[in-house]
Subunit: 474 residues, 2 copies
C-alpha cells in the first residue's frame, strides 16, 4: 500500500482509491511541532561546550566524533557509525605581525590554512599594496617579487552570502598568485564583514609545484590602519630620493611571525546515523552538516548549529511513523580544510543510489528562501513544500538549488535532487572562521524556525515515493 | 572694560552701561560653528594611526608625547610643553589560558595591570567559582586557599556607565581579596558588555604587604563557557567520591600562562598647551583628556577622542577674540595605570589658583546630559549654558558634577568648579580596554556634537569673570 504525501485534494482522491484500508496517521506537520524546540540548541551547546574547537585531523576532532556517536545513539538514531579516512593536516603555530615603518604598530593576524611558516625568526619585508585580488592578478611579477603582498579588498555583507565567492578569492587563491609572482609573503584583509580585532582564518591552496609562502589575514581594523599607513607613506619621500623626476615614497615595512606546521596524513572521519525508511527499495535522502570547525572559535555557527538543526528535524521525523525513505544524517569530518569528509562519503557510497540531498552549513539565522532542484515529475511535491514553508516567511527561489559542500561529491556522482533552505547570512561573515564563532551568537528563536522548516521538508521528501534523483547526463 | 557673557537681556544691559566703547565681537557661538568639524576626528585619526597603542611608561607613550607637542604647536596653541614625571611601569608578556578539565578548551585571556607572572611554566589549579565579587569577599579563606578564583559577575550596559563602579570591583580589588585569602591566581569575567573574544584589561591593585598573584580577565564568551563547564562538573561525581553522604563534584581545572614584567620607575609625562586669557588676574580653566592608552587597542575611544574633542573646542575658542581666562589643555600621561599624570599636575600646579575643570574621557558618543558644580553666584552662568546646550539634545542633570580622573587631584586640592558633559556610554564598555578600541568605533557625527557642546561651554566659562572656584572646606 502506498500513501502519497501530496496536496490535500489529491491525497483525498488517493485514499478514496484504496480498497478500504485505513492508512496510518500522517507524519507530524510543521504546525504540530512543539513550538519550543530545544534539541537543536542543546546539540549546539553540547558540542561547543564539551568539545569546543575541533579542527580536522586533530585529537579534538576525534573527541567530537566520539561525542557525536554518543549523542546520536542516545537520541535513538539507527546505524550510528564512524567512518574514518585520512587527510593532510596543517596546524597553527604562533602568529604575530607588526607594522615596522612608517609608524610601528602591532597587528592582529591569523595564518591561513596551508600557509608556510616564516620560521622562528620573524620575516620582514616591504608591502606592495593591491586594492583588489584582480589588481594582484594583473600586476607584473617584478612589482611583486621579494615583497609582501597586501590585498585590501573588503567584503560587504549580503543576506545570501553572495560576496564570499567574489571577495573570497583573495584568500582562496591570492597566496598562490602572489607566490607565483615571487612574493615572499602575503597578508590579506580578512574575508569578513565585522570590525573586530579578530581576523578570519580559512583555507588557501597552492598549485602543485608552487612553494607555499607565509600567508595571513589581518582584521578589518588592522587593515584600515595599514591602509592609512600606506597612504601616509606615499606622501613621504624616501630620504635622498627627491629629484626632478619625482620621488620614491617611503616604504611600508611589515614584520610577520607565522609558525604553522604540516603534520602529514592524519585520521578524520564522518559520523553517520539513520532514520530507517519503511520501503527499502526507495533510495535514501541524505542530510548533512559538518562536525569539524576551525580552531579559533568553538564552531557554533560553523557548523555545530547545522548539525543541531538537521538532527532535531530528523528527530521529529523519527517520532512519527517511519518515513518511506531512509533519512541518513551525515555529520561530515574535515570540511573546512578541503571537504575531505564529503569526498570520502561520495567515494564510499557511490554504488548506492541516493534520492535527494540537503545541507545546513550557514549558521542558525532564519531561513528566508527555499530553492529546489527536482525532476519535472515532482512539481506537485515542490508546490506542496513551498506552500507549507510560506507561513514561516520563506519565499520560493527562482534559481535551481545547488546543495552544500559535504553533499557535493555524491550529488555530482549521482545527479541527486536538492532542496536548499537558504539562511539569512547577513551577519554570518561577521563571525565566520574567527574566535568569535561561539554559542552566544546563536539565536535560539531563529534556530527554531530552521528546525520547523527542515522538518516540513523532510516529512515531505522522505515520504515521497516518486522518482527524485535527476541522474547524471552522460 | 569688561564684557560679561550672560543671558541676552542682561548682556544688552551690560553693554548699554558701558561708556560708549564698542565691544569686540563676541566669541563664536555653537550655532556659528562650522557644521562639519573635522579637527577632533583628525586628531583621533592621527594619534591612533601615527602612534597607535601608547602604554604609560613605554617608548610608545614618549612617541605620543612628541606627536602631541607637534600637533598642538602646529595648531597654534601657546606655551606647549612636556612635563615629565616618573611612575612604576608594568608591561604585558605572554598570555594564554586553557580549561584542562572537564572539557579541554582554550580561553581568551588578558593579564590585569599589576598582575604577577605565572613564570614561564603554566600554573595549573582548581577553580573556585564565585557568582559575584561580594561572594568572594564573604567566602572563608579555606575555601579559596590554593585555588584559582573565578568571579563571574557580568557587567550590564548603562548609558551613564554607572555599572563600572559596581561590577568593576571584581577587577579593582578582586585580585587583592583573593590573594589575601591565599588564592594562587584569579580570573575574572571581563568588566565589559560585549560578546567578543577580546578580554578587557585594566589595572588592579594589591595592598602593601600583599604579594600579587597572577590575575587575568577572560572574555564574556569564554566566561559563559567556563560557567557551563562548572555546572557540568558539579553534576559529575569525582570518581570514588560517591557515598551516602553525597559526592565531591569533579573539579574544574584551569591552566594559566601570564608573564608580565615590572620595569620599575619609568618616565611618563603630561603635555600642556594654552589659549591665553586676556585677563591675567583670572584663574584659568583646565580641560583634560589622557594621552596614554592600554596596549591592546589603539586607544581611540579611550582616550584619543577625548583629546580630539577638547582640543577642537579650544581651537574654535582660539579663533575668536581672546577669552578672559586662560584655557589650559592637559593631555595627561599615565592615567590608565594610576592617574599619575593627574597627580603630577595637581602637585606641580597646586600653588596656582584654578577656576574650573572639565574632562572628556568617555569615548566619542553624543553628550546627553550636563552636570554642574558651580558656586551659587554663578547660577545665571549655569542657566545660560544649560539653555545653550538644550538644542543639542542635552538635558540638565540634578546631581553635582564630579569631574574626570585627570583633574581629580587639582579639584580636590583647590575645590574647583566643574562642568561635566556626560557622554552616552551605552557601548563604551563593549570596547573599553580591549583590542577593539580602534578608530572605526568613533562616530564622526556624534563626535561633532561633542565639539559643539564643549565649545559652547568653554566660550561661556572662559569669559565669565565672576568667582568660580568653590574652595576647599577646612
Amino acid at each position: 500500500m502506498k500513501i502519497y504525501i501530496v496536496p490535500v485534494a489529491t491525497a483525498l482522491l488517493a485514499i478514496s482509491q484504496q480498497s478500504g484500508a485505513i492508512p496510518p496517521p500522517p507524519p507530524p506537520t510543521a504546525a504540530q511541532l512543539p513550538v519550543k524546540d530545544t534539541l537543536a540548541f542543546e546539540i549546539t551547546e553540547g558540542l561547543t561546550t564539551e568539545v569546543g574547537p575541533r579542527q580536522a585531523g586533530t585529537e579534538a576532532e576525534q573527541r567530537a566524533r566520539d561525542w557525536a556517536v554518543n549523542k546520536l545513539k542516545s537520541l535513538g538514531f539507527a546505524n550510528v557509525r564512524e567512518e574514518k579516512f585520512d587527510m593532510p593536516t596543517w596546524v597553527r603555530g604562533e602568529e604575530k605581525a607588526w607594522v615596522v615603518s612608517p609608524f610601528p604598530t602591532p597587528m592582529a593576524i591569523t595564518a591561513l590554512g596551508n600557509s608556510a611558516s616564516t620560521g622562528d625568526k620573524p620575516l620582514e619585508g616591504e608591502i606592495v599594496y593591491f586594492p583588489t585580488y584582480d589588481a594582484l592578478v594583473d600586476a607584473p611579477a617584478q612589482m611583486v617579487a621579494g615583497k609582501i603582498v597586501f590585498i585590501d579588498h573588503q567584503m560587504k555583507a549580503a543576506q545570501d552570502g553572495s560576496g564570499y565567492g567574489y571577495f573570497g578569492r583573495a584568500r582562496f587563491t591570492g597566496p598562490n598568485v602572489a607566490a607565483k609572482k615571487g612574493a615572499k609573503a602575503i597578508i590579506i584583509r580578512s574575508i569578513g564583514t565585522d570590525n573586530h580585532r579578530n581576523p578570519h582564518t580559512g583555507n588557501t591552496n597552492f598549485e602543485a609545484g608552487v612553494a607555499p609562502i607565509p600567508s595571513g589575514a589581518i582584521s578589518n581594523p588592522d587593515a584600515d590602519n595599514l591602509v592609512r599607513q600606506v597612504k601616509r607613506a606615499w606622501a613621504i619621500p624616501l630620504p635622498g630620493s627627491q629629484s626632478e623626476l619625482g620621488y620614491r615614497p617611503t616604504p611600508v615595512i611589515v614584520r610577520l611571525l607565522l609558525t604553522p606546521n604540516n603534520l602529514g596524513q592524519q585520521k578524520s572521519g564522518n559520523i553517520i546515523a539513520e532514520v530507517p525508511g519503511s520501503n527499502a527499495s526507495l533510495p535514501p535522502v541524505v542530510i548533512a552538516c559538518h562536525l569539524d570547525s576551525w580552531d579559533l572559535g568553538t564552531g557554533a555557527i560553523d557548523d555545530a548549529s547545522g548539525c543541531g538543526i538537521i538532527t532535531a528535524a530528523a528527530s521529529y521525523l523519527k517520532k512519527g511513523p517511519p518515513p518511506k525513505r531512509t533519512v541518513r544524517l551525515l555529520w561530515a569530518g574535515a570540511e573546512e580544510v578541503g571537504i575531505w569528509g564529503g569526498k570520502a562519503y561520495g567515494e564510499a557510497y557511490k554504488a548506492q543510489p541516493h534520492a535527494l540531498a540537503m545541507e545546513s552549513d550557514f549558521g542558525a539565522d532564519r531561513v528566508w528562501r527555499v530553492d529546489f532542484k527536482l525532476p519535472e515529475s515532482a512539481k506537485p511535491l515542490e508546490d506542496k513544500i513551498a506552500a507549507a514553508l510560506a507561513p514561516l516567511g520563506i519565499t520560493r527561489g527562482k534559481d535551481p538549488a545547488t546543495g552544500g559542500a559535504d553533499v557535493g561529491a555524491i550529488i555530482a556522482a549521482q545527479g541527486l535532487a536538492i532542496v536548499d533552505l537558504q539562511q539569512d547570512g547577513t551577519r554570518y561573515f561577521d563571525l565566520h572562521h574567527t574566535p568569535d564563532d561561539t554559542l552566544d551568537k546563536v539565536d535560539p528563536e531563529q534556530m527554531r524556525q530552521n528546525v520547523i522548516a527542515w522538518t516540513t521538508v523532510l516529512e515531505n521528501v522522505a515520504n515521497y515515493e516518486g522518482e527524485l534523483a535527476l541522474g547524471v547526463k552522460p
